[in-house]
Each structure stands twice: as structure tokens, then as C-alpha cells.
């Protein structure tokens, strides 16, 4: 009888330990896009193609006071003809909760490969703009931005 009860106690303890062990497993979502997420977001767009530096001009103020609205202009050196034009412009960031900022699809009749918008930056970080050309090549520009007041992703409202 003595053996039986200890066995029962042991099993009970083991069972509760297993339950306790299971509880503290909490799924943690990264609060910011990691460089790995940035790299995989870029891979989703370019696939296995080589991304070369150049031809793309990414204009963002180097020092930003308010990360909630940051003016951004991307332009690509390109004649914009039917044979040679920019098909799309993709903009990424390093440390916002999500690596994508925007995808912009141009037509050969655009005349000038340039877009502007206003973006949010949650931290001082790197911005990457990538252009896809009609010949299938990819060109990029990278800019470092210092943000003094971040866009409040954790803000309580």
C-alpha cells in the first residue's frame, strides 16, 4: 500500500509539473521588424535576383523630429520609355513593427519615375528603396534616419 500511494503521489506531482511547465510558454511577437524580417520582405519582392546599389534616389530628412509623418521621395534615373522603364518601387524599413512601407506600381507613360508620400518611423533606422526595371534588374538605395520623437506604436489611447 505504501508503494502504491507514493507512486500515485509521484504521478500526480509529475502531472502538475507538466501542466506548470506548459503554462509559462507565451508566444512572443517581436516588437520591431528585425533585419532578418527586412531581408525576407525584400526576398519576397526580388526573389533570387541580385539587387544592385545605384540609380535610385531616396530622399528622407536625415534628422526627423516627429516620426509620425516623415516626407519621403523616391526617384529613379530612367528614361521611362516602353522598352526601358521602372515597373515598381518598393520601400522597406528596419525597425517598424512591419518591414514593408509601401509598393508603388508605375506605368511606362509615367514620364518620370518618381513618387512621394509621408511615412511613419518607430525608431532611428535604415530605410531601403528598391526599384524593379522592365529588363528585370533591381536597383536600390539605403538611407539612415535619426528619429527624435518616434511614431508611437505602443501609445496608449
Amino acid at each position: 500500500m505504501q508503494d502504491d500511494s507514493t507512486r500515485r503521489q509521484f504521478l500526480g506531482l509529475a502531472g502538475s509539473a507538466a501542466v506548470l511547465g506548459a503554462v509559462p510558454i507565451v508566444t512572443l511577437r517581436p516588437a520591431e521588424a528585425t533585419p532578418a524580417m527586412l531581408a525576407s520582405a525584400i526576398r519576397n519582392v526580388v526573389g533570387e535576383a541580385v539587387v544592385r546599389t545605384g540609380r535610385v534616389k531616396l530622399e528622407v530628412p536625415p534628422l526627423v523630429e516627429n516620426g509620425n509623418t516623415v516626407p519621403m521621395t523616391v526617384s529613379v534615373q530612367n528614361p521611362m520609355t516602353t522598352e526601358d522603364h521602372v515597373k515598381s518601387i518598393h520601400v522597406f524599413n528596419e525597425k517598424n513593427p512591419q518591414p514593408n512601407i509601401g509598393n508603388f506600381y508605375l506605368s511606362p507613360q509615367a514620364g518620370r519615375a518618381q513618387i512621394s508620400t509621408r511615412i511613419r518611423l518607430a525608431d532611428s533606422q535604415k530605410i531601403v528603396a528598391i526599384a524593379r526595371l522592365s529588363d528585370g534588374s533591381f536597383w536600390s538605395a539605403t538611407v539612415d534616419v535619426v528619429v527624435t520623437l518616434a511614431a508611437c506604436t505602443d501609445e496608449v489611447i
Binding site: 509620425n68 509623418t69 516623415v70 524599413n93 517598424n96 513593427p97 512591419q98 514593408n100 512601407i101 509601401g102 509598393n103 508603388f104 506600381y105 508605375l106 506605368s107 507613360q109 509615367a110 514620364g111 518620370r112 519615375a113 518618381q114 513618387i115 512621394s116 508620400t117 509621408r118 511615412i119 511613419r120 518611423l121 508611437c152 506604436t153 505602443d154 501609445e155 496608449v156 489611447i157
Partner: protein, 106 residues
């Protein structure tokens, strides 16, 4: 409600490259903010924007939470013929808005 600001030149010379500026009033709630009770404020953003020039699509954008509130987007096109630009925004919670502007090309 949804209101748009569109800036397209009224007149252009044939073949001239013109700039088109658009702004749509929208909160662009990121989905990453919390209330005082700790609940996540659900995402509510514009996800796509497109522009058609006399029926043909000349520009399209996919937007993410990293685009500021009241999305302001500018782009270029060559003015080939007189006609109409039609703009369309769609987003979360069934958001849909349209606007248009006309141009005279001489």
C-alpha cells in the same frame, strides 16, 4: 467622412509630364496601439490606391501601416489626351472612396 484632395493641372501641353498630388483623409490606425485597458486597437488602414487615366490604370500603390495618417501620394504621368483621371482608395472595414479630376490637353 472620406474626403479627398486632388491636385491635377487643369491644362497641359501634349506630351508634357505632369505631377499628380492626392490626399485622402483617413486615420490609418496601425493595429499596434493599445487602449488604457490593454486591448489592441484593431488595424484600420487604406490598403490600395489606384489612378486611371481615361480608363487605363497608370498608377497603383499598396499601403502598409507605416504610411502616415491621411495618406498623401504624388506621382507623375505624361499628358497625352484630354480626359479624366479617376482615383480609388480601398481599405479595411470595407473602406472605399473615389475622386476624379479632368484635364485639357492642347
Amino acid at each position: 467622412m472620406a474626403s479627398a484632395l486632388i491636385n491635377v493641372p487643369k491644362k497641359a501641353k501634349r506630351g508634357e509630364t505632369i505631377e499628380i498630388k492626392t490626399l485622402m483623409s483617413h486615420i490609418m490606425e496601425t493595429g499596434y496601439r493599445h487602449t488604457a485597458e490593454g486591448e489592441v486597437v484593431p488595424r484600420d488602414i487604406i490598403t490600395t490606391f489606384s489612378c486611371r487615366y481615361n480608363g487605363a490604370e497608370i498608377f497603383r500603390a499598396e499601403l502598409f501601416p507605416a504610411i502616415s495618417a491621411n495618406p498623401f501620394i504624388t506621382f507623375f504621368t505624361v499628358a497625352n489626351e484630354s480626359g479624366k483621371f479617376e482615383f480609388e482608395w480601398t481599405g479595411d472595414r470595407g473602406f472605399a472612396a473615389t475622386a476624379s479630376a479632368s484635364i485639357t490637353v492642347e
